[in-house]
């Protein structure tokens, strides 16, 4: 009689262990960040006397005001433009048939598994040629290009799941294709769009290689992750608590968005993956 109960207890214990394991590194760096250098922290660094000094110091010395501004501008523009573009491509692939639609869609799918490693070299030299190196554009344009690929795939899946009858009825009522999209489908597309925006914003905020290559030469254009990388390289040996504080600052916006929209994130990444 008690065997299932023991089994259940073990199951939850194991699950809890893995969940703690997933969170622990984040907690440990937060603990470290709540100290200052003079605390000479080692080991588990339990914050008995939490201080915010390291956060203040990291924010100023790592010029994260600039980093956050750049990251927000780049991520916001990439997210909005990609979502609008993907609304169009997804609408076309999801509700219309036209010559060459299948190979063209396959071409978009390629973009999903694309590593930036494969495009960053010419991006550097081509942007240099046209004078866009070390500008926001050099980060925005390639990331729109890539996000459109995922967005197309994601929004197409949404539009294919909408009832055919709805679109047909609107068309018979004389609505133009644009009218169908804006008045009939868009109100329903909001959850799918929100998921897409959350994912694209996160990926763009976290992006590192492009920033390292394309805006390293312009301190005022550095993104938050790039700033963190430089700050860590210069500061880690001297004061790990400041680096920890900087890392917490950089992850904070994403963690907040994730906690608020976690259902969207998990659904987006899993559903996107399964259907892919």
């Amino acid at each position: 009689m008690s065997a299932p109960r023991i089994e259940r207890t073990i199951t939850y214990a194991v699950l809890t262990m893995f969940a703690i394991g997933a969170i622990y590194p984040v907690i440990s760096i937060l603990f470290l960040a709540l100290h200052t250098k003079s605390d000479l922290v080692t080991g588990f660094a339990w914050p008995t006397d939490p201080k915010l000094d390291s956060f203040r110091a990291a924010w100023d010395q790592g010029s994260f005001a600039t980093g956050f501004k750049s990251s927000f501008i780049v991520a916001a523009v990439v997210t909005v433009v990609s979502a609008v573009l993907a609304l169009g491509t997804g609408y076309a692939f999801g509700t219309m048939r036209f010559r060459g639609d299948r190979p063209l869609f396959a071409l978009f799918l390629l973009g999903i598994i694309f590593p930036y490693e494969a495009t960053v070299i010419p991006l550097y030299y081509d942007f240099k040629d046209v004078g866009l190196l070390n500008t926001y554009w050099s980060l925005i344009l390639p990331q729109i290009g890539q996000s459109v690929a995922f967005g197309t795939f994601w929004m197409r899946a949404f539009f294919r799941s909408t009832p055919r009858g709805l679109v047909e009825a609107a068309r018979i009522d004389g609505a133009s294709s644009f009218g169908v999209l804006v008045r009939v489908l868009l109100p329903q597309a909001r959850p799918a769009l929100l998921t897409l925006c959350a994912l694209v914003f996160t990926y763009t905020w976290n992006e590192f290689l492009l920033a390292l290559v394309l805006v390293s030469g312009a301190p005022d254009k550095q993104t938050a992750p790039l700033g963190l990388s430089f700050f860590a390289g210069a500061t880690r040996a001297g004061d790990p608590t400041k680096v920890a504080a900087a890392a917490v600052l950089v992850m904070l916006p994403i963690v907040i968005v994730y906690l608020v929209l976690q259902r969207h994130f998990v659904r987006g990444m899993l559903a996107g993956a399964i259907k892919g």
Binding site: A22, I23, F114, P115, E117, V120, E168, R171, V250
Partner: protein, 317 residues
């Protein structure tokens, strides 16, 4: 209807109405619709211009000997020949293969083990576990690197733990150790991806009809047989997806390596993307770097397509 009502109106208007009605019927779903191009072109333009064109340009650059400044020289496939015999390229890809074990194989096995434990009864409070398990996926590679540099530090939590449980002799600066640096990086990879695998499999297992489990139990199957006969086949798609995602993760480990060890100590944590970056932007061997980038991209594509092809998922589209 509209057409007949307008029959008495001037011919031009009637024709317009007829034309409109004809177009309306033509717009039935499934009919060819050239207006689709209007919606696709803006997105396609960005994708072509900033993803596909640079890719083609990388392939072109890989055929040149170029330092990034003076005019390049066409040398055919010489960069590729050099890359295939370059010991550091080979070592980098070998490291990537090892990282795949940590990023893909271990998390998938861990995920399956946990799922096997869980499928015997529904999980309550799964939302909480899911939120926690998924967190590592959300974090930037730079941030993950900082967290783990601290965990692995000489006086960091891992060594403290070892000393506390009496295994102090094992304590070491993990990332600075010639034989432990790569497995330590791999451990970070396992941490990043295991939650994804678990959530993927647990969610998938809940879609397996319980009747299959009942049938297995009626047949007297124990937990082990039940797992291999019901759970594993039922999770085929999820396992494929997990392997594709985590393998790609392993091959794209640039952010993590660059922000932890930068290939060191010695060359023990070199990976292709790091070596490519150094050739392109430190040693100014642009053509050679492009060749490595092409080999890396081809490897990622090949692995992804291989897994998808082997499981016949391509047919769905």
């Amino acid at each position: 209807m509209a057409v007949s009502a307008d029959a008495a109106a001037p011919a031009a208007a009637a024709d317009a109405e007829v034309e409109k009605a004809r177009r309306a019927t033509q717009r039935a779903p499934g009919e060819p619709r050239n207006v689709a191009w209007l919606y696709i072109l803006p997105g396609l333009a960005f994708y072509l211009l900033f993803t596909l064109a640079p890719l083609a340009h990388t392939v072109e650059l890989s055929l040149f000997d170029w330092d990034g400044l003076t005019p390049g020289r066409y040398i055919g496939f010489a960069n590729y020949r050099e890359a295939f015999s370059d010991p550091l390229v080979r070592e980098s890809f070998r490291h990537s293969a090892e990282l795949i074990v940590f990023y893909a194989l271990i998390p998938v096995v861990l995920g399956l083990l946990l799922t096997a434990l869980l499928t015997r009864h529904p999980v309550r409070g799964f939302t909480f576990y899911r939120t926690a398990l998924f967190l590592p996926q959300m974090l930037a590679g730079v941030v993950v690197a900082q967290a783990w540099v601290w965990i692995y530090a000489s006086d960091g939590p891992l060594n403290e733990l070892l000393r506390t449980i009496g295994l102090g002799s094992l304590a070491r600066p993990w990332l600075g150790d010639f034989s432990w640096a790569l497995p330590a990086i791999g451990g970070i990879g396992t941490w990043v991806t295991y939650g994804l695998c678990m959530v993927l499999f647990i969610a998938g297992a809940q879609n397996i009809p319980t009747s299959l489990y009942d049938a297995a139990r009626v047949d007297g199957a124990g937990p082990l047989r039940e797992f291999f006969a019901v759970t594993l086949p039922g999770l085929k798609n999820e396992i494929v997806v997990a392997f594709v995602l985590t393998t790609i993760n392993a091959l794209r480990s640039f952010d993590l390596i660059y922000n932890t060890n930068q290939g060191g100590p010695g060359t023990t944590t070199y990976v292709p993307s790091l070596y490519m970056y150094q050739n392109a932007f430190v040693y100014n061997r642009v053509g050679y770097a492009a060749a490595i980038a092409v080999i890396l991209a081809a490897t990622i594509f090949a692995l992804a397509f291989l897994v998808i092809y082997l499981t016949g998922r391509g047919e769905e589209r």
